[in-house]
Amino acid sequence: MPVLDENVKVVERLTEAIGKENVLETKTPRARRAFIRIKVEKLREAVTYLKEKEGITHLSTITGLDLGEEREIVYHFGAKNLALSVKVRVPASDPKVPSITDIINGATLYEREVHDLVGVYPEGHPDPKRLLLSEDWPEGVHPLLKTWDVNSLRKRVDGKEW
């Protein structure tokens, strides 16, 4: 069925569009699912390509992961018969990604959420305020980083033992 290998084809076309040397990893574990990891400099180009050439405009959400030395940001796109996850990695010492909110307006809250929880700053975001954390939450404490657990967070934020 043509529909079932569409994920492979989209990944191939995207690879061609941004250049093979910029694609670090691809995975198509099953029909309707695809993962592609690209260099962070090519993120905006890839998202623009998906929007303009593939008609993939629906950003479902953005996930941030703490991988120790690096942070991984996963952009989940939903389309007819394809859930595409575009990944980029940035060093933990300089956690910044270019904002894609101007290309995909629906990304605005997700980028702010990732900044709150994983500490990856969306550069060029029109309104990079806090989304989920409260105003009195200490600066620089990103609760989904693996360095924090419930006890250390409690101590840092409330100044109390659990």
Partner: protein
């Protein structure tokens, strides 16, 4: 900011439903000029908590992400973990999951129609709809023993079977639901009380909705033809026939019509599942302390409020390395903010309720006149009454 504009912070206790969220409204007289949403008052750190618990414990955390879509979160969690663990739920389990998901959609949509009717001051309809909703609540209770949090799923399948002896009774109850919902479809398109308050209110075009990545009935009410059940089929949705309901209206009325249409479809789907339920086991074995092999998966699920996305990464441990949940309401907030712009203060409750937000109710709000440093307060009930009076 011109001297004609006022800032009106509404929330964290806000004017629809029962959970906190905050909106700062800039108003010029009666007209909303700009809206700034602020969420997070109900952020409970569930994703962090899940990283510290085993897969079986997490079943019960995911079910408690939300009261109304408890089954949606749990089912999506199960199918996402199963995908990485390499477990295939038996066909009968998937059909039962579809059955529960659609019953949940019926109860949620009917609840919403009641709430929407209440927001516009049409309490007669509210009582009628909620009376009929009891039929589906009874049906859920007969199957699971619970009215909310059915605890039907486990990793590998479902925990309870459907007994064939009860099918005639289920069919009868579903018939009542279908019939009553058709009656409400008729009311929604003809009753002047609804048309006056819903038609043309909270309008958003299809292009704007797509641009802001809206999901679910909210997006389909603006004509966006996207339904995860059809476009990224999960469970047994590729085997159960149904129509995706869309409406080009883009207003609150379109939201009502889409949800009523979906309820009728769901009734049909439930009846189809009862007639075509495959025989066989209802679950695969999954040990409570089992390790899930390394891997990752994205789970898409059409919850009643829209596309629900879970992302799961395993590092071969008894606990998830990362579990990300994006509930549909967060996806609908940018489009909601756009919908409120240009509308009247009196329409705020119904437009807010229009997306069926999964956060909350106004108990109190503060209106601030920035120029005169004057502050006045109003509670949610007052704002609702204000809206009703304004339209008299």
């Amino acid at each position: 900011m011109s001297d004609r504009e006022f800032s009106v912070p509404i929330g964290p206790q806000h004017p629809a439903l029962k959970e906190p969220a905050s909106f700062l409204f800039k108003v010029d007289g009666e007209v909303v000029v700009n809206v700034e949403p602020r969420v997070g008052y109900n952020h409970r750190g569930i994703e962090k908590a899940m990283e510290a618990r085993t897969y079986i414990q997490n079943l019960y955390i995911t079910e408690r992400v939300c009261g109304i879509c408890s089954n949606a979160h749990q089912t999506n969690y199960c199918q996402t973990v199963e995908e990485v663990a390499g477990i295939k739920a038996p066909p009968r389990a998937n059909y039962i999951r579809v059955f529960m998901s659609e019953l949940e959609r019926i109860h949620s949509h009917l609840l919403w129609v009641g709430v929407a009717a209440h927001e516009i001051g049409f309490d007669t309809l509210f009582y009628y709809v909620w009376r009929d909703r009891e039929v589906v609540m009874d049906l859920l209770e007969m199957i699971s023993g619970n009215r909310v949090n059915y605890a039907m799923n486990t990793i590998g399948g479902v925990r309870r079977d459907l007994s064939k002896d009860n099918f005639p009774k289920y069919h009868k109850m579903l018939d009542i639901l279908g019939e009553r919902t058709k009656f409400y479809a008729n009311i929604a398109t003809h009753e002047k009380t609804i048309l006056d308050r819903a038609a043309g209110v909270g309008y958003l075009s299809k292009a704007d909705m797509k641009r802001l990545c809206g999901v679910g009935p909210n997006a389909r009410a603006s004509g966006v033809d996207y339904d995860v059940r059809r476009d990224l089929p999960h469970l047994a949705y590729d085997e159960v026939p149904f129509n995706v309901i869309t409406n080009d209206g883009g207003d609150v009325l379109a939201n009502v019509l889409v949800r009523i249409g979906e309820t009728i479809e769901s009734v049909g789907m439930c009846k189809y599942v009862l007639d075509h339920l495959p025989e066989g086991p209802i679950r695969e074995k999954f040990s409570p302390m089992a390790k899930v092999p390394e891997g990752e998966a994205v789970g898409y699920f059409e919850a009643q409020r829209g596309e629900l996305v879970h992302y799961f990464q395993s590092r071969g441990d008894v606990k998830p390395y990362r579990y990300k949940i994006r509930a549909p309401t967060l996806g609908n907030i940018p489009s909601l903010a756009e919908k409120l712009k240009g509308g009247y203060i009196a329409d705020i409750p119904i437009v807010l309720a229009g997306i069926d937000p999964c956060f909350s109710c106004t108990d109190r709000m503060v209106f601030v006149d920035e120029d005169k440093e004057k502050t006045w307060e109003m509670d949610g009930e007052q704002l609702r009454r204000y809206g009703i009076e304004w339209y008299k």
